[in-house]
Every structure is written in C-alpha cells, then in structure tokens.
Amino acid sequence: MTSVEEYQVMTGNHAAANACKGARVQVVAAYPITPQSPVVEKISFFIENGELNARMVRVESEQSALTACVAASATGVRVYTATSSHGLLLMYEILCWAAGNRLPIVMNIAMRSVGAPWSVWTDHQDAFTVRDTGWIQMFCEDNQEIYDTNLQAYRIAEDPSVYVPTFVNYDGYILSHTSMLVKLEPQKKIDEFLPPLKHHLNLGDMNVVMGVCPVTTPDIVKREEGTAPGYYEFRYSLQRSIENSIKKVKEVHDLFAEKFGRSYGNGIYKTYRAEDAEMYIFAVGSVASESRLAIDKLREKGVKIGLISLKLFRPFPTKYLRELFKDAKLIVVFDRDIGYGYEGILCYELKSALYQSKNRPFIKGYIVGLGGRDVNAEDLIDGVYRAIDLEKKNEYSEQTEFIGLKLDELDFLQEVVK
C-alpha cells in the first residue's frame, strides 16, 4: 500500500526531469522550445542545486543539442535531451546519426504541431514525422507514465541486444504543463532497476583506439587485415535490433511492474473496456485519453466498443495487433497527425499491419485536433457512429475526414474548400 504522502504534484515536464535525475544521466544537452523548456529548466536546477551530478551543455541550437548528446554518448556516458516540433526537425540529420551509431540516447518529445502557420499547441505531427529515423518510440498518457517510461527507456535502449536510441513522447501542454500526482521512486530502488551504462562505444577509454562512423562503402571490403561490413549490413543490423527490441520492451515493462507495482497494459498497448469489445478506437497520447470518455458514453448506449491506446509505435507491434484484432469488426483510428496527400499516419500504419491478417477489420480513420484544436468526446462519438454506419454499408470514403473543423463559421473559406 502506498500512502498519499509519497506522491507529488507535478507537470509532465517535471516528471520527465525527475526521471532524468533518477536515471543519473551524466550529460544533458538541450535548447529551449515551447512546450519542452521547463524540462531543461528543472534539470538545470537539479544540477546547480547539487541534486544531480551531471554536465549540462547549454547549446545554441537543437542540432547542436543532439550532436553533443551523440558525442557524449559515444564517449561513454548516459545522456538525455528533450525537444518539440521545429526543434525536433532541426535535429533530423542527427537523429539518423544517433541511430546509425547505435547510441542509447533517451529523448523526450513534448509533442507540438509543426508550422506553418505558427502554432505552439499540441498535435502528434512532430513525433510521427521522425518515425523512420531508426529510434524506438513510445507514447504516454499521463505524467506518471512519463516518469516510468523514461526509466524503462534507458534500460531498453542500453540493453546490449538493443543499443537503439529511444523517444518517449507526451502531448505538449495537455501533459507537459498540466499538474498531476506522480510517485517518485527512491534512488536505491531505481539503481537496482537501472544499472550503470555499459556501452559498446567508449571513446573516453584511452586504452582502446576507435574510429567511429567512417565512410562506409556499398559493398563489404575484404582485405588481408580483415573484412569490413558495408553500409547495407549496418542498416540491416539496425532494423533487426529494432524489430527484436519488442521483446526487451515487454520484458523491461514487466520487470518494472514487478519492482514498482505500476504497469501500462502489456507495455506495448493499453486497453480500456476492451475485453468483450466488437469494435475499437485506436489512438495514442491525448487522443487515447479523450477516447476513454467517449467509450464510457458509447458503452452507456450499448455500443460494444473498447480502446487500444498504442504505447509502442516503433517497432510497430504488427504481430501483437494482428492477434489483438483477430476478431474485430471495426477499428476507428483517430490521428492527431497526417501524412499529407494520404491520410492519418497511425491509420495507414495499422491498415498495413492488418493487411495480411486472416480477419481484415473495417478500418475508418479520422484526423482530429491538429494545432491544438480541442478534441472532445462528443466529436469522437460522432466519428464512431459514422464509422459504424460506413462499415454496415461497406463504404470507403475517398477523402480524408477531419473532425472538429469549423468551416461553417468561415463563409469566405467555404468556397475555396468546395
């Protein structure tokens, strides 16, 4: 039993900073951006206050932030950074570099929309945009989950069978700036769960001479001294490690649950009222949270619907989802992001995963809440009812549907849209 006194009230950003402290990170490099900034402010405070023995590199850009993390990690220490939106996109080149060098960096993305036009409010566009860079990617729904997932992320990323950088994502403002109860764990207990980093790269060890990341040819190179892999082999190895990491993600989640008494579904997805469901809402982060309300209301009306809140997005848990949805009739996907010119990213990823299932459920995707537009349960419920109707008629819409648009109130724009 835990008493209320063990909990503290804090924002998602501060939960992330506390996890950083708990993980005893050694180097932090970050650049301020809304809504991530309070993470770095809090970590700076921990360091200057003597609560965290780490070096803070107060860089002049996000590109430099992640580069400093890459270099520090390759030198042999545990590192952390956090960013949002444009900051994440400025890091794009180095995201690929971090993954290619197999560096167990943990980064928080306080998710925010991407301009233009300027917007500082939440959606999931930034996080989904970097899905192909070779990082593990996990989503959170509350501040405790941010704290817990960050601790797990280090253990996953640093596992010798993995060595892959890891994103832990949470919604800007909705979590980053909202206070909730968070239980912070005692240092000793965290240390038992998360041993010090044992890195495969250690430039700081002067007894070992290393050349990290030289030019690598298309083909393997055979010489008297030995055979060097080509770029293709390196990238194959990255893909295999990410694919296989799903076992480690689950294992670490279960270990964490055993030690700290908190779990998040099976570590890969969380369910809500899904036991006897015939249809599902499929979503991440803030949209999944809001869907819980929608599901309660739909259940009151007798709709047998449940929620699948995806926690692990990369590696995409194809096998788990095929099994999970093997009897599903209908899945409604709410994307707070969009693959422009196609449809919601989460939606098409799910469609692709279930294409080779024996049972192919009807999947209906909607776009919701871009740029911080409020996502409310009523809108989601409307979406579900329309999806039920479409499924009955087996009717696919050609165009991507946006929920919560207010075109009616913009006379001048209506002509353009038509």
């Binding site: 180097v27 430099s64 580069t67 520090a72 590192v79 990290v212 030289p214």
Partner: protein
C-alpha cells in the same frame, strides 16, 4: 606564446601512417601529421564531412594510428567536441585527454560557424583546428566563405569570386577566447609549436591553418610548400598568435611589418590557375586588401607593445 621549436624537438613517433587517401601534394596531410605529433596519443578528434574524413579512410581501415576519432555531420563538429568534453568532465578525464575538432574551411566559416561560435562562447575546453584550402575541395572546388577574391571555383566559373575571404580568426578573436593562432602547411615547426601551446591552455583554442591544395588551386604537386610560403611571404596570410588578448606576429611574418620586405603579390597569384582571370585592377585590389590587413595587424601589434 608558443615556444620556439627546432626540428629535433618534433617527436619521431608517427600517428599518420603512410598510404592514406589524400591527393599527392596535399597540404592537409602535412598539417595533420605535424598536429598529431604535437597532440600525442591521449587525444580524441572529431571530424565533420571534409577531406579529413577521406584521409581517415573507409570503414574498418584507417591510416590514423593510436588516436580515436568521432565522425560527425557537416555543421556539427564544434557541438560534437562540446559533447566529448562534457563526457570527459563527467568521467573526470578532461585533464588527461585533449579534445580536438578538426574541420575544413567550409565546415568552419560557413555551415559550422554557429556551432563554433556557441562552443567558444561557452568556453568549451577544446582545440578547434581549421585547415583552410579555401574552397569546398572534397566536393569538387565549390566557392566557400573562405575562398579568396577573384578565385575560380566550380560555382564561380566565369568571373571568379567577387568578395574577399571571411576573416575567421578575427571572428574568433572577438569571442575573447584564450588562444587564437594562424599557421600554414609550409611551416611544420610553427604548426607544431602552436598545437603544443594550445594543448597547454584551458578553454577554447582556435588554430586556422592555410592548406595549399594542388588540384583546387591549380599548381604542381611538387609546389605545395612553395605556395604556402608565398602566401605568407607576400603578406597575404600573416602568421600570428593572440594569447589572452596579447598579439604577437610569428617569426616568418615578423619582418613583413615593413611593406618593402613583402614579396610582390603577383608572385603568389600568377603561379596558380585559379587566379588566371585576374585583371590588373584585381591585383591592385589585392594590394589594397593586404595593406589594409597589415594596418590592422600593426594596430594590434602596437596595442600589445603598449600593454
């Protein structure tokens, strides 16, 4: 100020082995070989996209011995050094290990200037070495911020560059870092002395080394040393150090305070194909430019003497 170095002061131990991938007559090979001798084995070097990446060889095979290297994308070498240094501090190894960023002129004066300025402003404890071959040589001689006036490049193919080169050491000087120096591939003793001095100083150290490039500049591979010497002796590329604000001309450039001692700039410009198109007016412009830069040096020199 760097100590006077004699040839026998330079260690015989080699860190750059024979058989690297550089062009014949490459100024960078000479610079790197000498710099590594001064830096010694307890060094981590970080390198952005550049000819130096090529020098370091392909996956699995390198001509650089006993020194660890971290490659990093083009714009990021100073941030990379910042990360290495932060990790060394966290490990308590920052006193025993020297952290060096080694980049070309494009990676320094153009795409990397923001990161370098940031690292210098943060007083990062590292040496930043810029080898300046005055264009994007690794990608095939495109114009950089460090390309000199009138020079042919593949992106200034007809008229040549219409601006003078960016004075990067002056920009670093404005950061009030403890050590700024210029050097040149033709003066290995000078290179050795300056790297040795930089290694002894805590904080950000910047060394900018002119690196003659036979294919990029258009001269015979046997003339690399000659070209570097002419750059210095004509007064085009003054060698100096600024340590804690104290300016001092290095030996090869000292006597050039007297304009009569400088070789005519034509000797430098007329022996390189990249300057083929220079008109008489352009050469006059060069003379004006050199005089102006020496006026600045004189003022620095005078201030230092008064201090």
């Amino acid at each position: 100020m760097a100590d006077k170095v004699k040839l026998y002061d330079i260690p015989e131990e080699e860190f750059l082995l024979p058989g690297n991938r550089m062009c014949a007559g490459c100024g960078l090979s000479l610079i790197y070989r000498t710099a590594l001798k001064a830096l010694g084995p307890n060094t981590i070097i970080t390198v952005p996209a550049s000819c130096l990446t090529v020098l370091h060889g392909m996956q699995g095979f390198t001509s650089v011995d006993k020194i660890s290297v971290l490659n990093t994308p083009f714009a990021t070498v100073a941030a990379s050094a910042s990360g290495i240094e932060a990790a060394l501090e966290a490990m308590g190894k920052d006193d025993e290990v020297t952290c060096v960023a080694f980049a070309g002129d494009g990676g320094t004066t153009d795409i990397g200037i923001q990161g370098l300025s940031g690292a210098a402003e943060r007083r990062t404890n590292f040496i930043y070495a810029c080898y300046d071959n005055e264009a994007y040589m690794n990608t095939g001689v495109q114009r950089s911020g460090s390309t000199p006036y009138g020079s042919f490049t593949t992106t200034t193919p007809i008229y040549g560059k219409t601006e003078h080169k960016k004075n990067m050491p002056k920009i670093l000087e404005a950061h009030d870092i403890p050590y700024v120096a210029t050097s040149c591939a033709s003066y290995p003793l000078d290179i050795y002395a300056k790297f040795k001095r930089a290694k002894e100083i805590k904080g950000t150290k910047y060394i900018h080394i002119l690196s003659p490039c036979p294919p990029g500049w258009g001269f015979s591979t046997k003339d690399t040393i000659k070209m570097g010497k002419l750059a210095v002796e004509t007064g085009f590329w003054p060698l100096y150090e600024i340590e804690n604000g104290k300016f001092s001309l290095s030996t090869p450039s000292k006597r050039l305070l007297d304009p009569a001692k400088r070789k005519p700039i034509e000797e430098y410009l007329s022996t390189q194909k990249r300057f083929n198109r220079l008109s008489n007016e352009d050469i006059e412009e060069y003379k004006r430019y050199i005089n102006q830069s020496w006026e600045y040096i004189k003022s620095k020199n005078l201030t230092t003497q008064l201090l």
